[in-house]
């Protein structure tokens, strides 16, 4: 069967048809053959039996009259029967009475066969009783040879063989023609399929054919090809659309890139301009303060001279006015200095180190020790303060300003200030500090304005005076540290200023 699979369809079909026919014929013939042989043998048996019967009857007289010669003659007439190989008559005592053999080499057996029919290699042996008036007087036995059968069988087989060969040839011829009915549609389909596969040409179609399963196959095949074609077309269209979009996007991106590049250039240019402006401002601020201070010094000193030289010629009111003059000129100098300092803070470089805030605080408190003692301020530092990354001097300034404010704006009998760290830490993970007092507090609406430069909430001489630059400077410094400052306050009860530094 394995070999059969490898043949082409045509050959398969031819083989199947031819082989089928031949095998059927062979089987039929074989059956006939067997049946024929069996029939022949039955025939032979019947013949032998009738021969025996006749011979037996004819030999009753010979037996009775004990005439073996007649009996032998009688048996010899069986010569005409070619099948008979030997025949024998036995008397009542089962002794050989007369015998005959077609071939002198043969000899009938001395005693009759036991059974009435016996088949052996030599042939079929028949045994019959010889009856006279119903009484058994002897037995006759005949042996028929199978030569005839064998000859016949041989002849038959030969015939069958020849017939089969003829049949095979005819079958082959017929099959050759007949197989086309099935194979042609299949082969056509196969051809088209091969072409489609080789050329990748999906526009080919197999020719429609028969209405059977092969025809359906062809139909389905063509459908599939049509689907593939459609799908291919769709894919192509999608690919083109995609390519278009990619092109668009690429153009877009390039444009954006160009814009971004221009923006960066613009930014770089502006940065340079700003740096330039900064430098100029720095010069300007310094020079301005320098030039402003010169006449100021003049005013201050000359007022001083007036006071000294003309004190006796002035009344008290006059002296008061001169002193006011001196005070005002000093105030102006302080304001100029504050302004210059503030402007420097915005532009100078900060030196970052690890600052132990405890140490720093101690220094600041030490600096202000006298004021703190005078005003009997209770200074509380509830917990150890951390080490932070900051500009030491600037941070010190922040603490000093906040502490000064806390001390100044306090009207309580038992004033205190508290410096510590607050929870929660800010979103950028750094520490939050606070300086708290139980002072006069700040109204909500002034919480932002207090940071404006030179903005005070009280008249010039209340609460120890001041230029109103303290908080402004604190904010500037903290801003430059990338931190945040904010205030919580309850008017009349106290104020807390928080500031955070980045991690």
């Amino acid at each position: 069967m394995g070999r059969l699979d490898e043949l082409s369809i045509r050959r398969k079909l031819i083989a199947v048809i031819a082989l089928g026919s031949v095998i059927v014929l062979l089987l039929a013939n074989a059956a006939l053959f067997v049946w024929d042989s069996l029939a022949y043998r039955r025939d032979l048996q019947e013949r032998l039996e009738s021969v025996a019967e006749i011979a037996g009857r004819n030999s009753t007289a010979a037996i009775q009259f004990n005439d073996p010669a007649t009996a032998t003659e009688l048996l010899a007439s069986l010569e005409t029967q070619p099948d008979v190989r030997w025949a024998a008559i036995y008397d009542g005592d089962d002794a050989l009475f007369a015998g005959y053999a077609s071939n002198p080499a043969l000899e009938p057996p001395p005693a009759p066969p036991a059974s009435s029919v016996a088949t052996s290699r030599e042939g079929v042996a028949i045994a019959r009783p010889i009856l006279l008036d119903g009484r058994r007087v002897g037995t006759i036995a005949v042996l028929g040879g199978l030569d005839g059968l064998y000859a016949r069988m041989f002849r038959r087989a030969l015939t069958i063989g020849l017939v089969l060969i003829a049949a095979l040839l005819t079958a082959l011829l017929l099959a050759q023609r007949l197989q086309r009915v099935i194979s042609e549609p299949i082969l056509r389909l196969a051809r088209v399929a091969r072409a489609v596969s080789a050329e990748r040409n999906y526009s080919l179609r197999a020719p429609a054919g028969t209405r059977d399963e092969v025809g359906q196959l062809v139909g389905s095949f063509n459908d599939m090809l049509a689907q593939i074609q459609r799908r291919d077309a769709a894919l192509l269209a999608a690919k083109e659309t995609l390519e278009e979009r990619v092109e668009e996007r690429t153009a877009q991106l390039q444009q954006e890139l160009g814009e971004r590049h221009r923006a960066e250039q613009e930014l770089a240019r502006r940065n340079e301009e700003l740096e330039q402006t900064n430098r100029e401002l720095d010069d300007f601020a310094y020079i301005a303060s320098h030039d402003l201070k010169e006449p100021l010094r003049g005013i201050h000193n000359y007022s001083q001279f007036l006071l000294e030289d003309y004190a006796d010629r002035l009344d008290e009111e006059g002296r008061v006015k001169l002193r006011t003059l001196i005070r005002l000129s000093r105030r102006m100098e302080t304001l100029i200095d504050s302004l210059l300092h503030y402007s420097r803070l915005g532009r100078g470089d900060l030196t970052f180190t690890n600052v132990d805030v405890n140490e720093l605080l101690a220094e600041v408190l030490d600096l202000h020790a006298m004021t703190l003692r005078e005003k009997r301020i209770d200074v509380r530092v509830p917990a150890r303060l951390p080490v932070v990354r900051a500009d030491r001097d600037r941070l010190g300034e922040v603490l000093a300003n906040l502490i000064t404010n806390a001390v100044k704006y306090n009207d309580k009998q038992e004033p205190w200030i508290e410096i510590g760290t607050a929870e929660p830490a800010t979103s950028n993970g750094g520490p939050t500090f606070y300086v708290r007092d139980n002072g006069i507090g700040i109204q909500d609406r002034h919480l932002d304005t207090v940071f404006r430069i030179f903005k005070r909430l009280h008249s010039r001489d209340e609460f120890g005076g001041g230029t109103g630059a303290g908080l402004t400077i604190v904010r500037k410094i903290i801003d430059r540290h990338q931190g945040r400052v904010w205030i919580e306050s309850r008017p009349g009860e106290g104020t807390t200023v928080f500031f955070s530094l980045p991690a």
């Binding site: 006011t324 005002l328 609406r445 002034h446 304005t449 903005k455 909430l457 009280h458 010039r460």
Partner: protein, 149 residues
């Protein structure tokens, strides 16, 4: 006393020196109107609303005009102006902004809030005296002021 002389003038000025100068200027201009000075915006509002330490109406007469400096500690002049002009009982009082600032933004904002006029403080005394004189002549002799409500 002619009526215009009896109308008090409220001067809202934080600098003692400027206040002294203004007072001098009024004297030299020969004006005898009673002057009331408030040094902070909050004080001025307390005075006008007759609250805080100005609860006694005798201590807080209704001023005929208000001279208002813009740069005040605490609540500053711009806020005071807005409050006055928003208040039904106060907004008829002419408010004259008298300030060192000549910033156009301040000028626009003040007029926008309803200031009646805007004067930049002259630096010298003479200039200030003149300005005060003119101010008085205009507001008290040319102009008819509203009746106190």
């Amino acid at each position: 006393m002619p009526e215009h002389e009896s109308q008090p003038i409220l001067v809202v000025e934080d600098s003692p020196e400027d206040w002294e100068t203004t007072w001098r200027a009024f004297q030299r201009a020969g004006l005898r109107n009673p002057l009331v000075r408030c040094a902070t915006g909050d004080e001025a509002l307390d005075f006008l609303h007759r609250r805080g330490r100005y609860q006694d109406p005798d201590s807080s007469p209704r001023p005929g005009i208000i001279l208002l400096d813009l740069n005040l500690p605490g609540t500053d002049g711009r806020e005071v102006l807005q409050e006055i002009k928003a208040e039904e009982t106060l907004r008829r009082i002419p408010v004259i902004v008298l300030t060192t600032s000549c910033d156009s933004r301040d000028i626009e904002a003040c007029y926008g809030a309803g200031a009646n006029s805007y004067i930049q403080k002259p630096v010298d005394l003479e200039g200030l005296i003149q300005a005060i004189q003119r101010l008085h002549d205009y507001w008290f002799e040319v102009v008819i002021l509203p009746k106190e409500s």
